[in-house]
Symmetry: C2
Subunit: 228 residues, 2 copies
């Protein structure tokens, strides 16, 4: 399947946005679109990885299973995000679709050749890797020693930011992209604790539940105070 970059919703935010039109088209001819259903696995930990991809729409999670079979979510991938490691023969973590998703997939050598051919692409990928690294450390700082309430509050704020168009103000209302269980796996808590802390934050007037997945940020200031 050929890619139609002209219609790509992330055409000016993804790594390939730094390429010239003809370069991008050349790269696109070497890639293909792939759709994933919710909970479908893109890469499985331990399996050989010979490809990488840009997320076009939907959302992915990067996760590991511990010895007891419990999942730990290590990162979320949003549209325009990039997954796949070039320099490792095997995937270290699972990459799974959180919702129905569409990706722009490239076979391993294709992208390696491309970063040699287009220096700007290497820069763009380096930038993205550093951003991912930063995001990982921020999450680490959060789960390191914050209280359960602070973790949940910070996660809700983060979702609000992600759901907003403006980079400074969070969306007033949005749908949670994660189930309670996924939020718990991400924060190093249990389902029950997440649920309880959401209840507490609602009772304090910081947020309000809107249906099963909807959240309204009633008092963002109060919420960010709880996240401290």
């Amino acid at each position: 399947m050929s890619l139609v970059c002209v219609e790509c919703p992330v055409r000016d935010r993804a790594a390939c946005a730094v390429l010239e039109e003809d370069e991008r088209n050349a790269l696109a001819r070497a890639g293909r679109m792939r759709d994933l259903k919710r909970n479908e696995t893109l890469f499985a930990a331990g399996e050989p990885v010979s490809s990488c991809a840009t997320l076009v729409s939907g959302a992915l999670k990067v996760a590991t299973m511990d010895a007891e079979g419990r999942e730990q979510i290590l990162a979320l991938i949003h549209p325009a995000g990039f997954v796949g490691e070039f320099f490792r023969p095997f995937a270290e973590h699972d990459v799974i679709a959180l919702s129905d998703s569409r990706l722009c997939v490239f076979a391993g050598p294709t992208m390696e050749q491309a970063i040699d051919a287009y220096p700007a692409l290497a820069r763009a990928l380096l930038r993205r890797a550093q951003e991912d690294l930063h995001a990982s450390r921020v999450l680490q700082a959060l789960t390191g020693k914050a209280s359960g309430k602070a973790r949940v509050a910070a996660l809700l704020l983060g979702f609000g930011q992600a759901a907003s168009d403006s980079p400074c103000h969070p969306a007033a209302q949005f749908d949670l992209p994660l189930s309670r269980g996924e939020m718990a796996n991400m924060l190093g808590l249990t389902i029950e604790t997440v649920s309880r802390q959401i209840t507490v934050l609602e009772r304090e007037g910081a947020i309000a539940r809107k249906g099963k997945r909807g959240i309204e940020l009633v008092d963002p200031a109060l919420l960010s105070e709880a996240a401290a």
Copy 2:
């Protein structure tokens, strides 16, 4: 000060190792050596960063302070490691010397020009960023939901690996590069808990204390079992 790559202890492991001799020398002329004493700060969170560096000897920590002024260690940098973000105007985290250290420092634009001039360098930095990202996620998985004992055991094993020449077997005996407080900050525990778990592991026969900072891995298999 000019750099003498020929004598550099990390000359074939650092990112610049991918360069040809003359390219490397050209880059070296644009950089300079810098020595840090223990606890000296290389980058401070929030301050503008206009440089990056390869660690030649010693060790660094990447850390944040939470609202209550407690430190959280997010990553350790070992010799041949690279620090500094090109694409961000301000440092997000503190970078501090854990022991007396020597770095090979480059002013911001120097390295940016170099990655454009030498595609192999961009690849090498991308590889390093992905490795850092992986290390960050491994640490995150560890601090996510493991027990105190498992965290301490895993950290000790990691130090053993790092202190060893062989990549597969850990060193039988080594000195802890971190104080109890630093280990606690890294693992999301308290000094007391770290101390207690070390005592437990010693009582179980997995390790033995050798003086103030020395650790002997009496039974590595038992230790890695405790880390599970």
